[in-house]
Symmetry: C2
Subunit: 444 residues, 2 copies
């Protein structure tokens, strides 16, 4: 007689896409969760020993690691569609900067984060990397929503809603980091120097020191725009990546967003410091920033994840679309239909994304011992059929609306599309209030 | 006292996006439908005189012209995801051509069309332009599903499932055209010479003569691949567009798909014959064919619509994604965030699409006298909020799953996401049968 193990949650019957080192896909699989951890993964035949309080039958569905959004600005969801299709300077100076100056308060940040968390849970994102202001409020709301996040307090050389100077920003970042740094189950605090063109070398160094002092990630926009390359070349005589290396901001647990304006010899610099890259294809397309050399960076051994960027420049937080776009964009740019196959972008949204944000030891794959962050996705919608190859179905034919169930840290956040941690009606009301307020603020 | 007019269907309370010449958007609007026609469009205040058997309350929703898919191969939906991320020749010769040779029968074409119609109705497409084999079966199934289509019988110089020679194909096309050409409410028959590299000049001329004899559209793949340009240059000493003009295949109601390999002086040729262009951004990306010069073609006065191409090279039939991708792709290719604004791609999916397929006198906008082809779309999903600008919301933040109600030719095909004309369970079963059959056929 076999011993029986009681666990909190058992998922059985689905196709388990582990994204483990062997990239095992288990057609009739199971997943056992106890507390915040995955305790076993295998074939349904092996599930017999587990008894659970909650059992989810996932027959005909796919069970995937939760998707990782490696770069976003969640409160900006309240600016979604405020102004589109404009030249970058006009968009920033006439809309985004004034809207931020007049509206970004703790209250607004909390409301925007709630709206974003709702969208992320519904679309299968279980972990995100944020960079904005009032990050303690973002952390607080994210925790209440039940999502996992690296939450980066922005440091920048001009006055921003939560700090008149970078020194004030740094002091604030340190308080925030101290509050969350010790083993919080969901929140990893980080310091986020905005970009090399908005932060002087002293500011960048101070950010690196703060990150090292507390052992937290450092998040930065890097090599995003042509104008950045020109500015950095003019000011410092080097291109952005060699510049940030020289300044000394690259180091442990660095996450760089965009990384478009690169030369092949610069990948080695990023590799040397194990910098994770957040590729944001839809935002880069919409803002016409350019196309990052993702196949080349992957070939150079860099960890490249996927990000949506903020909803103001996308205009959603949908990693299923981001996978589809990443797979297609690099094909047409290189005129090579074999580059970036479905399996590669699925990696970027899961295990490689985890590697890019320096959390691959804990998330990104479904393996015993890892944190229980996973999603259950319908793959039998008529528009996904006949479903010959699962990776292809997931990347090219699955929509965020196919995500049915979301678990983070062992806790159900959505079950059969019913949101369990957020009050959708209240979020709608709150969003309507801010919509009016933001529109009025721009008319003044 | 005002007279009362009784109509069949009244939609009221929604934001009516007319896409008429003034591009009127009526915030609290109505739409009255009688028989197959729109009889009135206006503000809700003007709706008082209308009484209807069926009233749809559309408060908080957008009412749009049905989306037009200007290029697809609907039966290929059964090959969705059969093989992806391969070099073009390998994909065609190892998978698509063998799969077609072994599986394309009347029965398969009917099943694939049913699956495609289900997906198109669910995603808000009301009219499509098809090019495949056994088009009489495609027409028959499309009619039963209630969709509108231009159905083009493919003519090609090598043996295909429904014709051993182009002569047999032409005879078959003529029988098909004669059956449907006189005022069918939904189906417009067409002749579809496959492409200049697969059809000799004699074949192309025969197709043009057939189209002219019966006054039907001519659908052709044109200037899709580099290899096509090389082949046509070698064979005929001209690039594809000058070649097809010289041969004489351009003429009334021509619809050309892809049109990627162009030079600026070739737009005038297309314009001279009023050729409509079907731009297929996602397929062109996935197959690495290139990026069509859409802003330039639009500037040259060409009508450019949007197509998904077949689901084997996309892998879906989703025009909401196609709009989003078209808006973003041309921005990054031109490094200009102002090109292809949301309004432009919304035109391409509606009134410009109608112009491209030579049906703008009947469909593509919501105006009294036009055929009643429209969709009702939710715009209050949290991931669409705050919804500052409707065109932006529709293009950048709306998903096909937001389409709630679909009307074609005055008839409800889907209401509140319930499909009324197709048996979804039967389609699933039928698809599963063909899945097995197609997989087995490739193992022989």
């Amino acid at each position: 007689m076999r011993a029986t193990t009681t666990v909190d949650l058992l998922v059985r019957g689905g196709t388990v896409v582990t994204m483990d080192a062997q990239r095992r896909v288990i057609p009739d699989g199971f997943l056992a969760v106890h507390g915040d951890r995955i305790v076993a993964v295998g074939t349904a035949a092996e599930a017999g020993q587990y008894r659970a309080k909650t059992v989810i039958e996932a027959g005909g569905k796919a069970v995937l690691p939760g998707l990782i959004n490696a770069h976003t600005h969640v409160p900006m969801t309240l600016f979604r569609g405020l102004a589109d299709d404009l030249a970058l300077q006009e968009w920033l100076t006439k809309f985004i900067f004034p809207a931020e100056a007049k509206n970004v308060t703790r209250e607004m940040v909390r409301a925007g984060t709630r709206l974003a968390c709702l969208e992320m849970i519904r679309s299968g994102t279980t972990c995100f990397v944020d960079m904005y202001y009032f990050e303690d409020d973002i952390a607080d709301v994210t925790e209440a929503a039940g999502l996992r996040a690296i939450v980066g307090q922005t440091i920048i050389d001009f006055p921003v809603p939560d700090a008149l100077t970078p020194q004030i920003g740094l002091a604030q970042a340190e308080r925030f980091i101290q509050k969350y740094k010790t083993g919080h189950p969901l929140i990893t605090p980080a310091v986020a120097p905005h970009a090399p063109y908005t932060c002087a070398p002293e500011t960048l160094i101070a950010c690196r020191k703060l990150a090292d002092k507390h052992g937290v990630p450092l998040v930065i926009h890097l090599a995003e725009a042509d104008t950045e390359t020109q500015t950095i070349l003019e000011r410092y005589g080097r291109r952005p990546i060699p510049h940030v290396e020289r300044v000394g901001v690259l180091g442990a647990r660095t996450i760089a967003a965009h990384v478009i304006q690169t030369q092949p010899d610069e990948y080695a610099i990023l590799k040397k410091y194990n910098v994770g890259v957040a590729h944001c294809p839809q935002s880069n397309m919409k803002l016409a920033a350019g196309v990052a050399a993702v196949p080349e960076m992957r070939a150079a051994g860099l960890a490249v994840g996927l990000g949506t960027d903020g909803a103001a420049s996308n205009n959603d937080l949908d990693l299923f679309e981001e996978m589809d776009t990443a797979a297609k964009l690099h094909k047409v740019v290189r005129r090579d239909p074999t580059t970036m196959p479905a399996e590669a972008v699925l990696e970027m949204a899961t295990i490689e994304g985890a590697r890019a944000i320096h959390m691959a030891d804990r998330i990104g794959s479904l393996e015993a011992g890892k944190l229980a962050d996973f999603i259950i996705v319908d793959v039998s919608n008529p528009r996904q059929l006949p479903n010959y190859q699962l990776a292809s179905t997931l990347v090219y034919a699955t929509k965020s609306s196919d995500v049915e169930t979301v678990v983070v840290n062992g806790k159900l956040l959505m079950r059969d599309r019913r949101i369990l941690t957020l009050d959708e009606a209240a979020i709608r009301r709150e969003t309507a209030t801010f919509r009016t307020r933001i529109l009025e603020s721009l008319q003044k």
